[in-house]
């Protein structure tokens, strides 16, 4: 009778150990899958960030009259008008009525007729060479001669 009880207890113990080992095996697999999923997530986030970065530009703007400059990131879908508007916020300078938004080349070019273009369009159409801009108040008088 006692022997039968001991045999029964031994079987249960053996079964429990087997189940424990099986569970541990499944846990190892689950951890592998978790690690793989985390890796996939990190890769996906990296791709998304790179894509976002590709769709953005680092904009540099100089305010000629106030001798100030600012750098900020902007979506390539932003229009030159939006970039111009944001420039004042970044520069913390108030817009003046006769301000002109222009390129920052050796020979600055007015962008006032192209303000509806996005950064991407302006670059594609060679209106701008880069994302460096200037703000300068109009000068004048020469037309009066």
């Amino acid at each position: 009778m006692n022997e039968q009880k001991q045999v029964g207890a031994g079987d249960r113990l053996e079964k429990a150990v087997e189940e424990l080992e099986a569970a541990e095996g499944r846990l190892v697999e689950a951890r592998k899958e978790e690690a793989a999923a985390e890796h996939d997530i990190a890769e996906a986030v990296k791709v998304i960030k790179e894509e976002e970065k590709r769709q953005e530009a680092e904009v540099h703007v100089i305010h000629v009259n106030e001798v100030e400059k600012a750098t900020f990131r902007e979506k390539l879908t932003a229009t030159l008008q939006q970039v111009w508007n944001k420039s004042y916020d970044e520069l913390k300078i108030q817009r003046r009525p006769k301000d002109v938004f222009q390129t920052a080349d050796e020979h600055p070019k007015s962008l006032m007729n192209d303000l509806q273009l996005t950064l991407a369009e302006a670059r594609e159409r060679h209106v701008i060479k880069d994302f460096c801009f200037g703000i300068a108040s109009e000068t004048g008088g020469a037309g009066g001669w």
């Binding site: 070019k109 108040s137 000068t139 037309g143 009066g144």
Partner: protein
């Protein structure tokens, strides 16, 4: 409107303002020294700024001389000079002056304020001393603000080079 006041000279103030503004301009242009820009300062109140532009496929070089005797209450004096002499004598040096025809900036090689006045080079732009010295008509919004710097002057001239340059005189 006609300006009622001609600029007055104040060399000490000009030198002080130039000393203040030079580092600001150098910094905002992203360099560390004047020589990085190709500019030079042969005298305390003089700045030489090389400029170039292309006309009919040919690149032309010029030298802009800025001086600061009435600065910053008034813009710097500006004229194109012979690089060899760093001066301008009409008519010998007129080919050292670019033809700029922008509404914002126009060059004259021998301007006379009146029949008795000597002929002078005039960079006709509200960001030059000479513009105010000849009492040129001016719009209210083109008034020179005493907080502006010589970068405004250089920018106006470089912009005219880009859009309204027609070769040498």
């Amino acid at each position: 409107m006609k300006p009622t006041e001609r600029p007055t000279l104040d060399l000490a103030a000009g030198l002080k303002a130039l000393e203040e503004d030079l580092p600001r301009v150098v910094n905002v242009l992203g360099v560390t020294s004047l020589s990085d820009l190709g500019w030079s300062r042969p005298k305390p109140l003089v700045l030489l700024v090389p400029m170039k532009a292309t006309w009919q496929g040919q690149e032309d070089a010029y030298l802009l001389r800025l001086s600061f005797e009435a600065y910053r209450r008034w813009p710097p004096s500006a004229r194109f000079v012979n690089p060899a002499t760093q001066d301008y004598v009409h008519p010998d040096d007129q080919h050292h002056v670019p033809k700029l025809t922008s509404p914002e900036c126009q060059t004259h090689i021998a301007y006379q304020m009146n029949a008795q006045a000597p002929k002078m080079q005039l960079i006709c732009c509200s960001a030059t001393f000479e513009f105010w010295d000849v009492l040129h008509d001016v719009e209210e919004h083109h008034m020179w603000r005493g907080t502006e710097t010589f970068l405004t002057t250089i920018n106006a001239i470089q912009k005219a080079f880009g859009s309204h340059y027609q070769g040498r005189f």
